[in-house]
Point group: C2
Chain length 158, copies 2
């Protein structure tokens, strides 16, 4: 991944607050919207979801998920050329008792301070999405696949 | 679905040119980006994809897909409250010999005139996404599930 691609990927993930989450629902793909934040060190992502939601039940019964983040539309860019990244990974409940819970919660609230109230709702909880493979499409014919280690490097560099 | 919801759903699908496509990839969900158009009569959607792309191979081996369309972010709307619709359906190759090919192509090119050249590429073809169930979230606590028939009504009314 060259420096320009790395910068574009970092900018995409740091500026876009929502992702498309793909879960396995009764054996079929199901796509929903989730606000997301980046875990410290760029090791993955954190989402805050309701136990009452379909995607949460899906993640509990089948951890493999896909997270897609898309750049906002701009009139001068054809739809096909919009930058996006598809992340294949595993969803993992982030228990309040876990050692990394506090920093995951902080990362989430840093991005979504208005969500603090939702942490008082019994049905809401944090899940980490831990990447296995990352496919970044920076534009026309600009696709590259990177590892979780490279992603962490990209997200950790200033 | 009340008239305000119907109008919001119609506006979302008519103004947003891209969707998040969930396909089944080796038994796991995979989310990618696709430009989409609405089929005549609102009976479904049409996408134009390359045989070389992962999602196309996925659709050929497993037709159930999910299509999610999200409203653009606006500073005054919390991420969690963005309008979006998740469509569960089946992907079906749209052969050039099929009776409905011409109108599907026209619908696609009406939205993406700059894609005309891609129709000359041998690896690109049209797929229809035919909905089975539609979940519209208009904002906080404003979710409703509708049938393909209701969706067609919504998309056909002026």
């Amino acid at each position: 991944m060259n420096p320009a691609q790395a910068q574009a990927l970092r900018e995409l993930l740091e500026t876009q607050p929502v992702a498309s989450l793909g879960t396995l629902h009764k054996g079929e793909p199901f796509v929903s919207m989730v606000p997301f934040a980046i875990l410290p060190g760029g090791t993955g992502f954190v989402i805050h979801v309701s136990r009452l939601a379909t995607h949460t039940q899906d993640m509990l019964s089948s951890p493999p998920v896909s997270l897609m983040v898309l750049a906002p539309q701009r009139p001068e860019i054809p739809a096909q050329a919009l930058a996006r990244v598809s992340i294949q990974g595993r969803a993992q409940p982030c228990a309040e008792s876990a050692s990394d819970y506090a920093e995951a919660r902080l990362a989430y609230l840093a991005r979504f301070p208005q969500s603090a109230d939702l942490f008082d709702f019994a049905d809401f909880s944090l899940f980490a999405v831990l990447p296995r493979s990352i496919r970044f499409v920076g534009g026309f014919a600009q696709a590259t696949t990177i590892s979780p280690e490279v992603l962490a490097d990209v997200l950790s560099s200033a």
